[in-house]
């Protein structure tokens, strides 16, 4: 029996290093001449790191069976909290109801709801009697994911909501759904993008029909897929108009940051400038002019990667990506190793969360993704996020320790 606190270095070390890099980055935003409250921020982040580490070891102590038993309860609590925040929560900027203000702390339930969803879907799939994938099974999983997705979209927080979508899709895949079917699931989103012009939409629907015929898919499923795609295609322009203006603007300026260089495009432009100006080795701590002189907004949260890109250059950026790569590959290996349904799915779900947020956050800072509010795990400033991710790696480490005897 391994010691109860045997940690997996390939998980612990990258997570810790990333947290420390984050603290250094946040420390350097303290040199910002315009925004005074950045100065003491890194101290708070150290505090959150300590909290995170405490919870990390707590997760090592809690038996994994516990989570399997309470998975649906977690899920229920999460749904209640998400609903609650819509009615009783505090608005942040952009009229988003994301937080509960409890005394001095801001609690974001969405972070823990992600974990809860992973547990719920993993529990369901692990106990599923019968062959998977099967239509009713898939529908239940989709339903499980749709509820929190819908609640978060209402906040409104499209970025975070997408995480729930990604968790759902990845776990379906991980549990056995084959790629083609996965493609079929994603096809409505492709229809959505093509929907702005009838010609590409028609071409895509045609290709879809052809591929369904070649794959000899079940008739009911094929018809269902085509219908849903056509529906999405028709409804998209309608839904587009229902988007809040700032969301529309975000998407449009993502496609063309120059369109509104002082507003929505500003962040992307300044982020690219910061990163590009960093060069190979960066300008050094506290020497980043984009950071220091406040040309880069939300530097401590969304754009913390840009700060590091400016001050530590390509070297720093690659180190961060490398650390995440190590962490994620290790996570996947654990998820594959533990062929025990529940644990493997939980690990897979966690990997999906981390991977998605890393890709979206860094992608946003280099202009490959639209601006979303997704923090960079371990690095971005934020207590809820830090604690949630240390809980995640704590559980991953426990899984790695216990999978054989589960």
């Amino acid at each position: 029996m391994k010691s109860i606190f045997s940690i997996d270095p390939l998980i612990f070390v990258p997570a810790l290093l990333l947290s420390v890099i984050g603290i250094i980055g946040i420390y350097s935003t303290g040199f910002n001449t315009e925004i005074a409250f950045y100065k003491g921020m890194y101290v708070k982040q150290i505090y959150w790191l300590i909290m995170g580490l405490i919870l990390f070891f707590t997760m090592m102590v809690i038996p994994l069976r516990f989570h399997e038993i309470f998975a649906y309860i977690y899920y229920l609590i999460a749904i209640i909290m998400l609903a609650g925040v819509l009615w009783f929560g505090t608005a942040g900027g952009a009229k988003a109801m994301r937080w509960f203000s409890i005394g001095v702390f801001n609690l974001q339930p969405a972070e823990f709801a992600k974990i809860a969803l992973v547990f719920a879907i993993a529990r369901f799939l692990a106990h599923y009697k019968g062959k998977f994938p099967s239509t009713p099974g898939v529908i239940v999983v989709l339903a499980l994911g749709l509820i929190p997705f819908g609640l978060v979209v209402k906040q409104p927080d499209l970025g975070t909501a997408l995480v729930f979508g990604v968790i759902t899709m990845f776990l379906l895949y991980w549990a056995g759904l084959n790629s083609f079917h996965l493609f079929l699931f994603i096809s409505p989103t492709i229809s959505m993008i093509a929907a702005f012009n009838p010609i590409p939409l028609a071409i895509f629907i045609f290709l879809l029909v052809v591929s369904l015929l070649i794959a000899r898919t079940d008739l009911k499923v094929s018809v269902g897929v085509i219908i849903i795609n056509i529906l999405f295609g028709i409804l998209t322009p309608v839904l587009w108009n229902k988007l809040h203006d700032y969301q529309k603007l975000r998407i449009l300026t993502f496609l063309d940051p120059g369109r509104d260089p002082r507003g929505a495009g500003y962040q992307i432009i300044q982020s690219k400038i910061a990163i590009g100006a960093g060069g190979l080795f960066g300008k050094g701590i506290g020497m980043g002019t984009q950071t220091k002189l406040a040309y880069l907004p939300t530097q401590h949260t969304d754009f913390i990667f840009s700060v590091i890109g400016e001050e530590f250059g390509f070297l720093g950026a690659v180190i961060i990506i490398l650390l995440f790569t190590i962490l994620l590959i290790r996570g996947i290996t654990i998820a594959a190793k533990t062929r025990k349904g529940f644990l493997g799915l939980v690990a897979g779900g966690f990997v999906a969360i981390i991977a998605f947020q890393v890709l979206v956050n860094i992608g946003m800072t280099v202009g490959l993704m639209p601006v979303t509010g997704l923090p960079l795990p371990f690095v971005s400033y934020g207590g809820t996020s830090m604690i949630a991710f240390w809980v995640i790696v704590g559980i991953l480490t426990a899984i790695n320790r216990d999978w054989r005897s589960y």
Binding site: T33, K272, L280, R339
Partner: protein, 605 residues
């Protein structure tokens, strides 16, 4: 646990585990590809396009501010500073220094003595940038600044800014000589070298300021300031070194300021006038006056639209430089040239007497008058010059004819610029056959025109500078030197560049002709019958010629040209007092004082 359920589960798990393996592989591959794309993008931004983004980040955060270079001083021949620099103060409001709108308008208006409404307008204008000062009043004096400083707590947000501008002598003395400074116009900007002249920079306008602008202006420095996203300036940028400004070079003039002031003050009483004094041995310009003056201190400071308009529309044309741009009929001061032309062409000798002067004479079908109605009687050339008899010279003119006269007039340099180191100069007009043919049609002009030209009237036009240059040449025996205002240019590191004496030409007269003229001109002043008696200076021999030029606009112009001492001439002067009357009465006494002032200045008197 039932055995077959375990088995069942095991099978599913085994199947699932195989699936998981492939999926694991695919997931890892997908992840690596995506991260590789990110890394590739980072590489493209941070390595490939690095310099591009670096430039933008610097442009974001660095502002280039020019540091104005102080202009070089202008000093007279004795080293006396004439044109120096002074501070120009502007009172401004800096919005970010106070949170609320500025409330103390009345107090401020009182304190600095400015109309309340004016301040209100400026302060209520929409603010574009809280860190950019709003100019309220430009060109206040130092006393006002002191008051601002003393009471600064009562007027938060009010600051003052300093610019450098020029300080010229008072009363507009030398205003034409120096010119003034002002902001470069768009038209000028297009003509000049963009490396040196940028939009908004200050250049010399008119006079020496313009002629020697490149030398006087020095080189502006650059300061690199670090600026935050809000527009706030934080200080010097640590990334770029400032370039200090280079002070302009100094001009040491040939002008003797004491002499200049005498000329300035004596000409003040007249509607208009000019005085040019030159050293006959080398062409150095000792005095250079044009009246009326204008207030170049006002032009260099903050000039109101009303003042500018009033000066530009002033019918006395204060901006016209009468010393070298204004052209006038010379009148009798041109008679020596007519005489010399006659002698040199062997048409006339000094003893020829011709018809006596009875006040008027008929030529062709016209009557030509002499300035003295009672006439001069019978004179030889010497006498005709001493008493300035028109009738004598009409006859000389008729004898030599237009072509001869025109040839010698051109040969002396009339109708041509003297190339003074000054931005504008008129060439005057020395008529010739070709000119008259072009103007009136071939041969379609009276043969009697030469009569007027012979006495310096008619279509002949000269500048006071040309007259001074000519009389200098007479004084030194016939060498026409190029006139120069500037003696030396001293660069800030002490290098001295001295302007060279240059010969333009020699007068087309023999030594004997010239010495006769000198003798005659001396007699004009020293002889009891001479018209130039008013120019006599005890213990110094002065040679000169009066002129009273008719002109259609009013009273005659009063001219006097002279040089002294005759034995070893140190100064040659040409003076004109517009519409003043007789040369003997007005211009001659002024010339006398100018000569006295200079000769005592150099210790000859």
């Amino acid at each position: 646990m039932v055995p077959h359920r375990i088995e069942f589960r095991y099978r599913i798990m085994a199947k699932r585990s195989k699936i998981s393996d492939i999926r694991a592989k695919h997931t890892i591959i997908a992840l690596l590809i995506l991260f590789l794309i990110l890394t590739g993008r980072l590489f493209s931004l941070q390595v490939v396009s690095h310099s591009y983004y670096r430039q933008i980040s610097e442009n974001n955060s660095i502002r280039m501010v020019p540091i104005a270079a102080p202009r070089g001083f202008i000093k007279d021949r004795n080293g006396k500073p004439l044109v120096t620099n002074r501070a120009l103060y502007t009172i401004s409001y800096l919005p970010y220094m106070s949170d609320a709108k500025f409330r103390h308008i009345d107090y401020l208006a009182d304190l600095i003595g400015v109309d309340r409404q004016l301040l209100e307008e400026k302060l209520n204008a929409p603010i574009r940038n809280r860190y950019e000062p709003i100019k309220l009043v430009r060109g206040v004096d130092f006393g006002v600044i002191c008051k601002i400083e003393e009471n600064s707590e009562k007027i938060p947000g009010i600051i003052y800014q300093t610019e450098i501008t020029r300080q010229y002598p008072a009363d507009g003395y030398g205003s034409h000589l120096f010119g003034y400074v002002g902001e470069i116009s768009d038209a000028e900007l297009r003509k000049r070298d963009p490396n040196i002249y940028k939009s908004g920079c200050i250049i010399g306008i008119g006079g020496l300021e313009e002629e020697y602008d490149k030398v006087l202006r020095g080189r502006d420095g650059v300061e690199y300031l670090e600026v935050a996203a809000s527009g706030k300036i934080l200080g010097r940028s640590p990334y770029r070194e400032s370039v200090p400004p280079q002070v302009g070079s100094e001009l040491i003039l040939n002008i003797d300021w004491k002499t200049q002031c005498v000329a300035e003050s004596l000409l003040s009483g007249y509607i208009g006038g000019a005085a040019v004094a030159i050293d006959p041995s080398n062409g150095e310009v000792i005095a250079f006056v044009s009246k009326p003056n204008f207030d170049n201190n006002a032009f260099a400071g903050v000039i109101s639209e009303e003042l500018w308009a009033s000066v530009a529309n002033d019918t006395t044309h204060p901006l016209l430089n009468r010393a070298c741009v204004g052209t006038y009929p010379p009148g009798s001061i041109f008679k020596p040239i007519t005489a010399a032309a006659a002698l040199e062409s062997d048409s006339v000798s000094i003893n020829d007497k011709f018809q006596p002067c009875y006040g008027s004479m008929r030529f062709g079908n016209r009557i030509f008058k002499c300035w003295k109605p009672s006439g001069h009687g019978r004179l030889d050339m010497l006498g005709a010059i001493i008493q300035s008899c028109d009738i004598y010279f009409y006859q000389v003119g008729k004898i030599i004819g237009l072509d001869v006269w025109a040839k010698y007039s051109k040969g002396c340099g009339f109708g041509e610029r003297t190339d003074l180191d000054y931005p504008s100069e008129s060439s005057g007009l020395s008529p010739s056959r070709e000119y008259l043919d072009r103007k009136y049609g071939a041969g379609d002009w009276s043969r009697l025109l030469i009569l007027n030209l012979a006495i310096g009237q008619g279509e002949l036009l000269v500048t006071p500078l040309q007259m001074a240059v000519f009389y200098s040449a007479l004084a030194n025996g016939g060498t026409v030197y190029k006139p120069r205002l500037v003696n030396k240019i001293i660069s800030p590191d002490g290098e001295i560049f001295k302007t060279k004496t240059e010969v333009l030409r020699s007068l087309p007269f023999s030594a004997s002709t010239i010495s006769f003229l000198v003798k005659a001109l001396t007699a004009v002043v020293e002889d009891p019958a001479g018209t130039g008696a008013a120019a006599r200076i005890p213990s110094i021999t002065v040679a000169g010629k009066t002129g009273t030029a008719q002109n259609p606009h009013g009273l005659e112009h009063s001219w006097f040209c002279c040089f002294a001492p005759v034995e070893d001439p140190k100064i040659a002067v040409a003076i004109i007092a517009e519409n003043a009357g007789h040369g003997s009465a007005h211009a001659a006494p002024i010339a006398r004082e100018i000569v006295k002032a200079y000769l005592s200045s150099i210790g000859v008197l």
